[in-house]
Subunit: 171 residues, 2 copies
Amino acid sequence: MITVMRYGHRPMRDKRTTTHVGLVARAFGADRILLAGTGGVPKSILDVVDRWGGDFRVETVREWRRFLRDFQGTRIHLTMYGLPLGETIDEIRERSLKGDLLIFVGAEKVPPEVYEWCDYNVAVGSQPHSEIAALAVFLDHLHRGAELECEFPGAELRVVPSERGKEVKEL
Amino acid sequence: MITVMRYGHRPMRDKRTTTHVGLVARAFGADRILLAGTGGVPKSILDVVDRWGGDFRVETVREWRRFLRDFQGTRIHLTMYGLPLGETIDEIRERSLKGDLLIFVGAEKVPPEVYEWCDYNVAVGSQPHSEIAALAVFLDHLHRGAELECEFPGAELRVVPSERGKEVKEL
């Protein structure tokens, strides 16, 4: 099971980026997102799960520190200050075959204990960019691109890939 | 040369996502971003270029339709309705060795002529997620991950990758 923990969700300011993080988590093969803090759950994530299928879960967790500290599995913190993705991903993939993963994704400044508690601090490039991009590329490397062909059971809608225009099948 | 064209930048609503798109374009090896429309340039992109190096350019273009239509090179529209990334990326990479690329990234609804004018409509997965993620994964596949080790000349700051914590070198 792959859990994404989204830290620093401030309801007003971060609503759209949290939505992006949630949709990326789902589309790239994570099983759930935990929103750390008191912000509500963006409705647009739930709408996508409803219409596009799968059993991706969206939850909030107030005691995120305890949850992260006591998590049974491999904890990965995505940060531009960490070790390169290329040096760590094979080991993390090995671990994912034997147990659960938690991927910690920050928005605002991340408290220092996160760097300590996580088993891996991983940099998707050492340049400032976007936690949304970092999560997508991390999951894409973890699954070696196979997640892009994933099917979502129970969908009402499915895209029929096309060279021009939009084709959507209602199921 | 790789240009990213960001369509549908509404200054208030999209400022943060446009910033993410711009930073991802830079970090994943594009040369410039063109903001289509009348919104200003987010200062945070320019700040990153100043401090973290490289010669990434940020420009606005009012006549984006004409620019896209008349662009000399290969035009790629990232859309969940397009052809799978895996089926198109090798051909696009081939073309990128011989000429320029323009990658069109939408936010709001994209006008139908974009689907017509672009040489490729490419889906980074056929699930709804994020134009930020789509751009990052597209560029990562285009460069086969090599962009993550790219150096940015003229930087004031450089990250020293570390297992725990943050180490930044001032240059």
